[in-house]
């Protein structure tokens, strides 16, 4: 059974208690009424679907109920880091420089 660390409960719990909640760090544009349809579609529909290191939102839905962010390798299914919602995109543990150089 896969164990996922919840940063609010402070411990690793069974994957059964969690739900995947999509890609992390997607910021809603401030001027949502003014952007073009293409820009809106980019924000609303388009996801990276990364093969490899991915920043994702997860929810501890059958535990504390909180959303949080993780770094997960989608190839090996290994969770590299969990951190609280609201924190900036965290660097990959052990990596010398951020993967893909994304600072959003």
């Amino acid at each position: 059974m896969l164990l996922i660390h919840c940063p609010y409960c402070g411990e690793s719990r069974s994957e059964l208690e969690f739900r995947w909640a999509g890609e992390a760090h997607i910021a809603r544009p401030e001027n949502i009424a003014e952007i073009s349809d293409e820009a809106f579609a980019e924000y609303f529909f388009i996801r990276d679907n990364t093969k490899g290191i991915a920043w994702e939102r997860w929810r501890h839905i059958h535990g504390c109920g909180r959303f949080f962010n993780t770094i997960r390798d989608t190839v090996s299914d290994k969770f590299l880091l969990s951190y609280k919602a609201g924190l900036a995109r965290q660097p990959v543990p052990g990596a010398s420089e951020p993967v893909e150089g994304d600072a959003a």
Binding site: M1, Y8, C9, G10, E11, R13, S14, L16, E17, H62, G63, C64, G65, R66
Partner: protein, 181 residues
């Protein structure tokens, strides 16, 4: 037509278990689902008459009341006495949400040396005394249903579940108890 609605206990008369795992339905209790921010915790604690726990997986008891930490701003408060939880929360004056869930939940009491094994028949939590000491609580899963589990003693637990799921919970516990040493 009946003039007065009578309260039916969902698991009334249910019995089961083995020599090492004893199962019985808990008597009815008052409960609230309490949501409040950090700044309201101390005043709510005062008016509820217990100190709301702020550490994960912990609970606090005082008199007939027990408060269980469910999330960073969420508690389940159980009163096996007179009740008055909503009124007590309201009198704090602090910003909060208190929903009476007395009739939504029911509880099963599990006792005996095999109780943690029986629970682990459907619950993925580590229930060793080191990871889940007396007084620990957690919202988790038991088989297909969501439950709140409270360790009331080294060999005793209280399992809170929704009343319509209680027969499932009791049945699964009864089965799991047969496998527990």
């Amino acid at each position: 037509m009946a003039e007065l609605a009578t309260r039916a206990v969902p698991l009334a008369g249910a019995h089961g278990g083995t020599a090492s795992v004893r199962l019985k339905p808990a008597s009815s209790a008052h409960r609230i689902s309490l949501r409040a921010g950090e700044d309201a915790v101390s005043t709510l604690s005062t008016t509820l008459g217990l100190s709301l726990p702020t550490q994960p997986k912990t609970s606090a008891s005082s008199g007939s009341r027990t408060a269980l930490w469910l999330g960073p701003d969420e508690w389940l408060v159980i009163d096996e006495g007179e009740g008055g939880l909503v009124e007590a929360a309201r009198s704090s004056g602090a910003v909060h949400s208190a929903t009476d869930v007395s009739h939504r939940n029911t509880a099963i009491l599990i006792e005996g040396p095999g109780s943690s094994d029986a629970l682990n028949g459907g619950c993925p939590l580590d229930l060793s005394l080191k990871a889940f000491p007396v007084g620990s609580c957690a919202r988790t899963l038991f088989g297909k249903i969501e439950v709140v589990l409270l360790r009331t003693g080294e060999q005793s637990f209280r399992l809170e579940c929704w009343r319509s799921f209680s027969e499932y919970a009791f049945g699964l516990l009864r089965e799991a108890a047969l496998d527990a040493e």
